[in-house]
């Protein structure tokens, strides 16, 4: 999810990709315990959705396919899908921009 072509973030803002990834994972661990399980399941579903629509788990899709899936979930009529993308997007933007 951290490929700049996939999330539309300028490459220079994501030069600290590993730090951003570690921040996102740490924030997931810190979130209230009753939210962790639903978010974990949603993250699994998101990854699995790539298999359904693109023949591979999301993490193995090409950047353009990943972008397409993110946009599909972002504009979904299901609020839970939009919130899911918004959550990860917020963490990536906030931490990515913090290292610039």
């Amino acid at each position: 999810m951290l490929d700049h072509k996939a999330v539309g973030i300028a490459p220079d803002l994501l030069q600290h990709k590993e730090k951003v990834l570690s921040f996102v994972l740490a924030q997931y661990q810190r979130m209230p315990d009753f939210l962790k399980l639903p978010f974990g399941i949603l993250t699994f579903c998101f990854n699995f959705w790539g298999l359904v629509t693109g023949g591979r788990f999301f993490i193995y899709l090409s950047a353009s396919q990943q972008k397409k899936q993110i946009q599909a979930w972002q504009s979904s009529s299901l609020k839970i899908s939009r919130d899911f993308i918004k959550f990860y997007e917020s963490l990536v933007i906030f931490s990515g921009c913090s290292y610039v």
């Binding site: 973030i9 300028a10 803002l13 921040f23 740490a26 924030q27 810190r30 979130m31 209230p32 315990d33 009753f34 939210l35 609020k79 959550f87 997007e89 917020s90 933007i93 906030f94 931490s95 921009c97 913090s98 610039v100």
Partner: protein, 478 residues
């Protein structure tokens, strides 16, 4: 104090403004005080203010906390020694006098009018060096003030708990926030108070016919029991009712949570208004207070990028222009929420309900704020409503909704209170007028939970003064 289990005369749970002041005054009066804090004991300077490191070090759940409802409201709580005082803006207000009268009338609070609180305000203001910024104010702050002045609206600089020291060349520095770790906690420790950080209290149990409390806690992975004759719960408006619920104490606890729901707007100006390291600007517009207030938020590049992520503004554009941008907010005093413990989970569920009238009030507040910012010379405004077009002229204000849409509004708050209101009306209140929990003589609350309703201003001044008053009352010094 002895070992296994720890014993003390007074246990103060939570080291934010309410807990730190209580622990300090009780220790200075010679009481054997143990101050228990769930978060880490870190100096104020352990991380840059409003940084992602601060989120990691000092915020509960890394700042990933939300009140469920339609719309959801994101909120934050401090979780470190010093609590919220370590992470907030440092803006100071006394409790509005008419609000104290309202609390007296509606909640039957006694001894809490303006003249009663005055010595406590003064004591806290002296301890925290509350005052106005001695230097030039940031332009982002002045823009809000100028816009308000042009419209004839009341606007003023808000004092802060900052201390300004002179360099050897005689110049004043940018100021140091006088948080609890800079003020009351060192005083408490000097008076003999013991601090136990990274200790999470699970529940309270009365023993010996209610004459003392067994505090069940976990300290760095190990179960710890602490015995205390008196307990002050000072964990804030969410965690205090959560702890009391876990302990089976529920009378009027956690059912009346209030907050200041806040909607934001990013304004881009033609000139630089937001130089690096400026902190939170100091002006607030009080023309429509207490129902509606306007102010400025932290506007660093990461926060601006986050605020603009809904508007498809390219991050490169934000990166290039962020010093011309600032985040402003409009806040109201509406809505009500509750705190619930979910079986099997540690963290409490927070729910908050906004009525259609609250959403109309937020929309009105947003419209007025946008009008002010355009008057102040803003070129583009980005309201925090998903899918809302940028506003560039007064005619564009007609595009703003008459009521904030429940599914597209991004609301947040940093002010939470009123979950255990104080007063003599036992049908409505959780504690008496001095924070003593009804039915339990040696259990007290001393934090934002006690405020009867939303104050409409930054609440830390009220929390500190009430904690100061209640601690002196406990000591028999009032």
């Amino acid at each position: 104090m002895s070992n296994s289990p720890l014993t003390c005369q007074v246990a103060v749970i939570g080291s934010g403004p309410g807990g730190a002041i209580t622990a300090c005054l009780l220790a200075e009066a010679g009481r054997d005080v143990l101050l228990i804090e769930e978060g880490r004991n870190l100096p104020l300077e352990s991380c840059p203010p409003f940084s992602h490191t601060e989120l990691e070090q000092k915020y509960r759940s890394g700042g990933v906390t939300v009140a469920f409802g339609s719309p959801k409201i994101q909120y934050v709580e401090g979780c470190c020694v010093g609590g919220g005082s370590e992470i907030n803006s440092g803006l100071y207000h006394r409790t509005p006098p008419d609000l104290l009268q309202q609390w007296q009338r509606d909640f039957k609070v006694i001894g809490l009018l303006e003249q009663d609180l005055l010595p406590h305000f003064q004591a806290c203001e002296t301890a925290l060096s509350v005052g106005y910024c001695p230097g030039e104010l940031p332009l982002a702050s002045l823009k809000l003030h100028q816009g308000a002045q042009s419209l004839g609206w009341e606007s003023r600089e808000i004092p802060r708990w900052f201390r300004y020291d002179k360099s050897p060349s005689g110049e004043l520095n940018q100021g140091t926030r006088q948080s609890m770790t800079k003020t009351f906690i060192p005083r408490a420790l000097a008076a003999g108070c013991q601090l136990q950080a990274q200790t999470s209290v699970k529940s309270l149990h009365p023993e010996n016919g209610g004459k003392r409390w067994r505090i069940r806690a976990v300290s760095q992975g190990k179960a710890v029991d602490i015995m205390a004759e008196t307990v002050f719960v000072c964990c804030g408006a969410i965690q205090t009712p959560a702890l009391l619920h876990r302990s089976g104490i529920k009378h009027n606890i956690g059912k009346s949570l209030a907050m200041h729901p806040t909607v934001k707007v990013v304004a881009q100006f033609p000139e630089v208004v937001n130089p690096p390291h400026v902190g939170v600007p100091m002006h607030q517009v009080k023309e429509f207070a207490p129902k509606i207030s306007f102010g400025c938020s932290i506007s660093s590049f990461p926060y601006l990028s986050l605020a603009l992520s809904d508007h498809q503004v390219a991050l490169n554009h934000v990166h290039t222009h962020w010093s011309q941008m600032a985040i402003y907010y409009a806040m109201i005093t509406g809505g009500q929420g509750k705190i619930t413990i979910l079986p099997g989970f540690r963290d409490p569920l927070v729910q908050y309900h906004l009525t259609p009238n609250d959403l109309k009030a937020l929309a009105t507040a947003l419209q007025k704020l946008c009008y002010l910012l355009l008057t102040a010379g803003a070129e583009i405004l980005y309201p925090s409503i998903s899918g809302s077009p940028p506003l560039t002229c007064f005619d564009d204000l007609n595009q703003l909704p008459q009521s904030l849409p429940r599914d597209r509004s991004n609301l947040m708050t940093v002010h939470l209170f009123s979950s255990c209101p104080m007063g003599e009306d036992e049908q409505r209140c959780a504690t008496n007028s001095f924070g003593q929990v009804y039915g339990l003589k040696n259990l007290y609350i001393a934090d934002a939970s006690l405020l009867c309703t939303a104050p409409g201003v930054n609440p830390q001044g009220s929390i500190m003064a009430i904690a100061h008053r209640n601690a002196l009352h406990f000591l028999g010094k009032l």
